[in-house]
Every structure is written in C-alpha cells, then in structure tokens.
C-alpha cells in the first residue's frame, strides 16, 4: 500500500513537472532559442527522484533550503549539461522547480497512508494542471495575435518560431503595421462605422426594450405569456435562416450597404435578449414604489423614467454592454449586407483584407488586435456586471 501510493504520488507529480517544463520550453523556443527536444526521459528521471527525495527527507530540512537544493540540482542537470542556454532560461527553470517543490511539500508519508490519498493527490494536481493548461491554450492565440502584429513579413518567414520583439527599434518601425492599416487601409473609418453601428444599436435597443420589458414585468394584458415565451423562442432562432429573405427585401428597398439597414437588423436581433434580461431585473424591484407613484398620478412614462430606470442602472448598463459587444462582433449580416468598402464595419473590413492573398499577415493581425482590444477591455473592466448577466441571459453565439 505504502509503496504503491508513493509510486503513484511520484508519478503524478513527475508528469506535472514534465508539463510545466515543456510549456516553459515551448515559450523559450518561441523567443528564438534553439531547443530541439523536450528530453522527456531525463525530465522523468529527475522529477521522479525529486519527488521521492522530498518524501524521504520529510521535514528534516527547512522547506526553503530543500526547494533551493532541488531546484539547483535540476537546473544543473537540465540546463548545463544538456543544453547551453541563456541565463534567463535557467532562471525560469529554477523558479518552476521552486514552485514545484513548494507544491509537493504539502504531502508527506503520513498523508499517503490516509484513505483515498491517491485520488486526493490526483484531484489536486489535475486542478493545477487544468489551470495551467487552459490558461496556455486560451491565451496563446491572443499572445500570437499581438506579437505577430509587431513583426515584419520577412522575419516571420525566416523563422516562424521567433516571437521575440525587438523593443530597441524605432517606435515607428515597431508599430508599422498599425500605421499602415490606418493610413492605406482606412481603418479609422471602419472603426468609426463600427462604433456608430454598435452605439446606435445600444441606444435604439434600450429605447424599445425598456418599455416592453416593463410591460412584460409589471402589467397584465392579453397575450402576455405568449409574448414572454415567444421572446425566448425568437432568441433561439437561427440567423442564417433570416439572411436570404432579408437580403432580397433590403436589396429591393435599397437598404443594403447602409448603416440604417445594419441598425435595424442588429436592433431586432438583440431586442429579445435585452427584453428578457431587463424584465427579470424589473420584477425584482419592489412594487410598492410604483403604487405610491400611481397615487401621485404619475403616468407610465413618469414611472419608467423616474422610478424604474434610476433603480435599474446596473441591469441597464450590463444590457447596454452586451448589446454593444454583440453588435461590435457581428459578422454574418455585415458580410451579407455590405459589399461597398465605404460602408464596411471592422469585422467585414478584416475579412475583406484577408480575401487578398497578398495582404501581409502582420496587417491582418494588427487589424485583429484593433477589433479585439475594445471588447476585451470592456469585458475585463466591467467583468462583474457582465458575468451575472451572461448566466441570466447569455449572449447568443
């Protein structure tokens, strides 16, 4: 039992260590270092020995000394004998090992004898592994997008693995892709169009949605349940089904290639979500306030503007942010309705740019950064509002 548990513990922690070091090696490779192999066998032996040694030594040496010894041994073996690499790489390895020894220091021989100890260890390490794995998998494309926009076409072709940015160069050279897309590809105009469309959608949607949501939340009328269920059903409805009829109707009405056309479609598609989210919030406002207002002979307009709106600013702002994000990110309708470069939105412009095979990829990535940054900024800054709203209404996607 004891031997079995010890072996399992060592194996799990070793795999975790291999994973950590591999990610570090990948990142180092992408800084232009020539690392051609992970040396998994050596990592495995070292990791296994360290885990065993940790259990063997126990508390006889202070944690900090123990970690430093382990880390130094590992760095010495891996970094110095196997690969001659710059000092910053070895410092990274040292820190990883220090982190690793700190993590495994929580376990001792006594813990291993407890019931389900291997499962507990597996769960702990899986969580750690998951955190690192998902951070890496999610952030890596974003990192690549950002870095590529600062490189040049030649550098990218010569060594696609060299992601290092030379910060020593002139600001103008560093941000060259951005200057180019704004100057020769008119990205300033596209940003303006996208902003007008998104902000316009937010305003119109709120104008329509607040009264409707108030009616659904508070008033009794024939067809109310029908209305609130159909909101949900319409929300589920596929946009691709609307494309062809809307295209034909908009062509005949001359609404294609116009901001008005986009505004109408975006408002109609975001209204159901907005009404659904708002009415949920309006229902939570105490009714007594309105009853007092009705006694004061306030009209519905007065009730909405003087009571409901001031009380539901958080909900309204989260709906506004959502609608903004949906309109900003929207691609399908802008692809269908816009074919004149003068009326492009940002997403459509980037897609148009990529249609030309000659467009250097760093311009494409610079455009992508430009379209992504505002959304991510809004999201991170207003995260608290947005996450609660996401689970309540959920953005369509």
């Amino acid at each position: 039992m004891r031997i079995k548990n010890t072996t399992i513990f060592s194996l799990i922690s070793t795999f975790f260590l291999i994973f950590l070091i591999s990610i570090w090696k990948i990142l180092a490779t992408l800084q232009g270092l020539s690392i051609n192999s992970f040396n998994i066998e050596i990592l495995f032996i070292l990791g296994f020995l360290i885990s065993l040694a940790h259990l063997g030594i126990g508390n006889r040496i202070k944690l900090i000394y123990k970690s430093i010894i382990f880390s130094s041994v590992f760095v010495f073996c891996d970094g110095y004998f196997i690969q001659k690499l710059p000092i910053w790489y070895n410092v990274g390895v040292f820190l990883i090992l220090y982190f690793f020894s700190y993590k495994i220091s929580k376990y001792s021989f006594n813990d291993l004898q407890e019931e389900h100890s291997t499962q507990v260890i597996l769960f702990d390490f899986l969580t750690l592994f998951g955190i690192l794995f998902f951070s890496f998998v999610i952030l890596f494309p974003f990192y690549m997008m950002l870095v590529t926009s600062f490189k040049t076409q030649i550098a990218l072709l010569v060594n696609p693995l060299d992601f290092s940015i030379n910060f020593g160069q002139d600001i103008k050279d560093l941000f060259k892709s951005y200057f180019v897309i704004f100057k020769s590809y008119k990205f300033g105009k596209y940003i303006l169009t996208s902003t007008i469309v998104s902000v316009g959608t937010v305003i119109i949607t709120l104008l329509f949605a607040i009264p409707a949501a108030y009616a659904v939340a508070r008033l009794n009328f024939f067809g109310k349940t029908f209305l609130s269920t159909s909101i949900l059903i319409i929300y589920m409805f596929p946009a691709i089904v609307l494309v062809i009829p809307l295209y034909t109707i908009f062509s005949q009405l001359g609404l294609r290639n116009s901001i008005e056309g986009l505004l109408i479609v975006y408002t109609a598609t975001t209204l159901p979500v907005a009404i659904y989210m708002l009415q949920g919030y309006f229902k939570s406002i105490p009714k007594e306030l309105e009853e007092a207002a009705i006694l004061d002979k306030l009209s519905w307009f007065g009730i909405i503007t003087k009571i409901i709106i001031p009380l539901s600013i958080p909900a309204i702002s989260s709906v506004a942010l959502y609608v903004f994000m949906i309109a900003w990110n929207e691609f399908l309708f802008s692809l269908m309705f816009l074919d004149n470069p003068n009326s492009f939105t940002l997403s459509r412009a980037i897609q148009y740019l990529s249609g030309d095979a000659e467009t250097p990829r760093q311009y494409l990535m610079a455009g992508s950064v430009v379209v992504t940054l505002p959304v991510l900024f809004i999201f991170v800054y207003f995260e608290k509002y947005l996450v609660s709203g996401l689970t309540a209404g959920s953005v369509k996607g």
Binding site: I26, L30, N36, S37, E115, Q119, T127, G130, I131, F134, S135, V137, I138, L139, P141, F142, M144, L156, P160, P211, A212, Y214, A215, L219, N220, F221, L227, I234, M236, P238, A239, I240, V241, L242, V243, I244, P245, Y247, T248, Q252, I264, V265, A268, T269, L271, W300, F331, L332, S347, I350, Q351, M365, S368, T372, V375, L376, F379, V380, V387, G397
Partner: protein
C-alpha cells in the same frame, strides 16, 4: 372603476410593447415566412432587382439655329429578363418652349411632355428624339434643360410576388448535392462540438470552483474566446495552423514530432493507425470542431459554475463524514446536481452549433469536407446565386431543428416522468 383601470393598464401595455413587437415581427418573423415563400420559387440573385424603365437625356444644339434644340432620350428597360408594362413618360420644359415634332404616342400640354410607350419587353432599347423651339426666339440654356430629369413609370411583375411555385428547389436539395454527406457533416460538427464544449465546461467549472490564487482572473481569462470577435480569432487560428509557416507546424517540426507539415485546415482525411486498424479521420472537420469547442466551452463553463456554486456545502460535508473519495463525490453529488443545466446547455448549444455559419466560413470557407448546412445556404444563395435553393436549404434547417426540439423535449419529459 376597476374595469377602466384594467383597461388603461391593457392599453398602456400594448403601447409599450408595440414598437418592439413590430420591429421583431418585421425583421425576424416576416422573413421566416418570406423564406418559405421564396423556397418554392425559382429565383436567382439577378432577378431580385426590380425592372425599371430608364431614360438618359442628351441635349444637342442645332447649328445656326439658336432658338431650336434637339433632345435625345435613350430609353431602355433595365432588366434583361422581364418586361415592363404601361410605361409612362413625363418631362417638363420652360414655358416658352414649343414642340416641333410630336410623336403619336405623346401629347404636349402646359409645357410638359407626356408619353405612353406601352409595353417594353426585356432588353428593350429606343432612341426617342424631340425637337423644340422657343416661341419668342430667345437663346436656350442647355444646362438648365439638362438638369430637369424625366420621370418614367411602369408596371412590372416582381418575380418574388407572382404565384409561380415549384418544388424543384426541394427536390434538388434533398435528392442531389450530396444531401446525406451534408447532413452527416453538419451532425458531426454539431454533436461533437456540443459534447466537447460541455465536457470542457464541466472540467473548467470544477477547476474554478476550487479555491486558488488568481481565481477571478482565471474566470475572466476562460471567457476570452467567447467574447472576442470571431473574425480576429478565426484568422489567428488560421495563422497558427498554417502548413507553411504556421506556429504549430513549425513547433512540431522543431521537436521532430512530425516529419512533414500537416495541413490541418486544408486536408480532408488523414490516415490513422490504432492497434493495427487503419481508419480515416476527417482532419479539417476535426480542426473546425476543435475551434468550435475552444470558442464555446466558456458558455458551458459559466452555466455549470453558477450551478456548482449553488450546491449546498452540507452535501459534501456529509460525504466527507461517510468517507467518500473525491471521485465518488464528483459522480454521486456533483454530476447529479448539474444534469439539469447540462440538458439545457446541450439543447442551446446544439441549436446554435447547428446554425453556426461564421466559424466554418472564416476558417475553411466550407472546403475540404467542412461544408455544413448553413455554409450551403450561403453557397447556394450567393456563390451560385440561386436564391430559391438557398431558401430551400434554410427551410430544411428549420424543419430539422424543430424535429430535434420535438424529440428532445419528449425525451426530457419522459425522463422527468420517470423520476
């Protein structure tokens, strides 16, 4: 008294909801009916322009005679396919103008020329000429003459409004064009994308439900793929997976894991040998599904996390007292608590993935075995420019979805009954 109050309440409610209802009706419900209508017609992209009678006005001065002028109208039917009936023409002139040659189809009254040109067949063209002179002999200003535009009017059939229906589109959709293959591709894409995103959602939610340093940061990072614009993400992935100088292939080559680059988005099949069995994996489709899972697991993560945080702690404490292992706790407590959320998520994601257009369109454009039904709507309607076919495909999508929802709810209803 009470009655009138209820009545005013009703009235107010209708006033408040009407704008939203009207807009949604016009842009969402009406097009759905329009779609059914169009799907039974033979319509092409070029047919949807309404035919118009057009006239180009050319003003020519006649040499030696300053008080006379020749005006040429180049008349034509803008449509190459449809005739225009009862074309009427009207143009205005200065008061001192007198007409010299009045066409039999026209009359000149109160300094305006009115004509009835009758029916114009498709591609119709005519040069129509009139000569005017001023009755007081004054000089003619050509510019001001040119600035007055003639008005033309005519009746034409809007091909969308006539009542010629055909089943041709549906026959074509269902019996030609590799419908089975399309359906299978769409099903693989939808099903594996849905299941994958839910599995990853469960894993990440379970992970973030633990306490660790940087947990809120982790929560927002996990949502990045879901909130970022699809265009940016798709092109970044394309760059990442590019066979020539993409990062992934370069890394794999660098570590000698592969010998030749793999075209993950451009290769339909890849041969894989497992335990001596060779089978073909649909490579591009798998890659597209991976992207889909990567982009949409955050939604599952959020829903499941919210549910996990609502599970009472006592359940786990009781399990601890009973000496349950972590796996037992997960399978016996956590999983039963989240099945309801998972079944809702499965439905939502299944429906949305079934209709997903942008992701596949941007990554592969539907090439190398990734043509799903929504991609087919676009290709039929806009690449081949057969609007009727595109509509028919989208009707098929709706019908399939309704069938799915019907069976899903029956299944759910049964399971609820059993419990």
């Amino acid at each position: 008294m009470n009655d009138t109050l209820a009545n005013t309440e009703k009235k107010t409610a209708y006033i408040l909801t009407l704008p939203a209802v009207l807009l949604v009706f016009a842009i969402i419900l009406f097009p759905i009916f329009a779609n059914v209508w169009i799907s039974f017609k033979e319509v092409e992209l070029k047919d949807i322009r309404i035919p118009e009678p057009r006239a180009k006005k050319i003003v020519k001065s006649i040499s030696d005679e300053h008080s006379k002028i020749k005006i040429l109208y180049k008349l034509r039917n803008s449509s190459l396919l449809q005739e225009i009936r009862d074309v009427s023409f009207k143009d205005n002139f200065p008061k001192n103008f007198e007409i010299e040659n009045l066409d039999s189809r026209c009359e000149y009254k109160k300094s305006s020329l009115k004509c009835d040109f009758g029916n114009w067949p498709a591609k119709y063209k005519e040069n129509f000429q009139v000569i005017f002179s001023t009755n007081d002999g004054s000089k003619i200003d050509k510019k001001s003459l040119k600035s007055i535009k003639p008005k033309l009017d005519g009746k034409s059939d809007n091909i969308l409004l006539n009542t010629n229906f055909t089943l041709k589109n549906f026959k074509k959709v269902l019996f030609e064009n590799e419908f089975v293959d399309l359906l299978l591709t769409t099903f693989y894409y939808t099903f594996f994308g849905t299941v994958g995103s839910i599995v990853f959602g469960i894993l990440t939610a379970q992970m973030v439900n633990q306490k660790f340093y940087g947990r809120t940061f982790m929560r927002s990072v996990l949502l990045f793929p879901y909130v970022a614009p699809v265009v940016a993400l798709a092109y970044t992935w394309e760059l990442l997976l590019d066979p020539n100088s993409g990062t992934l292939n370069s890394l794999l080559l660098n570590y000698q894991i592969i010998e030749t680059p793999i075209n993950l988005l451009g290769q339909k099949y890849i041969e894989i040998g497992v335990f001596g069995f060779d089978f073909k994996l649909r490579l591009a489709l798998t890659t597209v599904i991976m992207f889909e899972i990567w982009r949409y697991f955050p939604l599952a993560f959020l829903f499941i996390l919210a549910r996990l945080q609502a599970i009472p702690k006592e359940l786990y404490e009781a399990a601890d007292v009973d000496g349950a292992s972590p796996f037992q706790k997960f399978f016996k407590i956590t999983l039963p608590q989240i099945t309801a959320v998972i079944s809702i998520l499965f439905m939502i994601r299944f429906i949305w993935n079934f209709n997903k257009f942008e992701d596949v369109f941007l990554l592969t454009g539907g090439a190398s075995g990734t043509r799903t039904l929504p991609i087919n709507v676009y290709q039929q309607g806009f690449a081949i420019s057969d609007i009727g076919m595109g509509s028919a495909v989208s009707i098929v999508i709706v019908v399939l979805l309704l069938m799915f929802m019907f069976f899903y709810f029956r299944l759910l209803g049964k399971r609820v009954d059993e419990n």
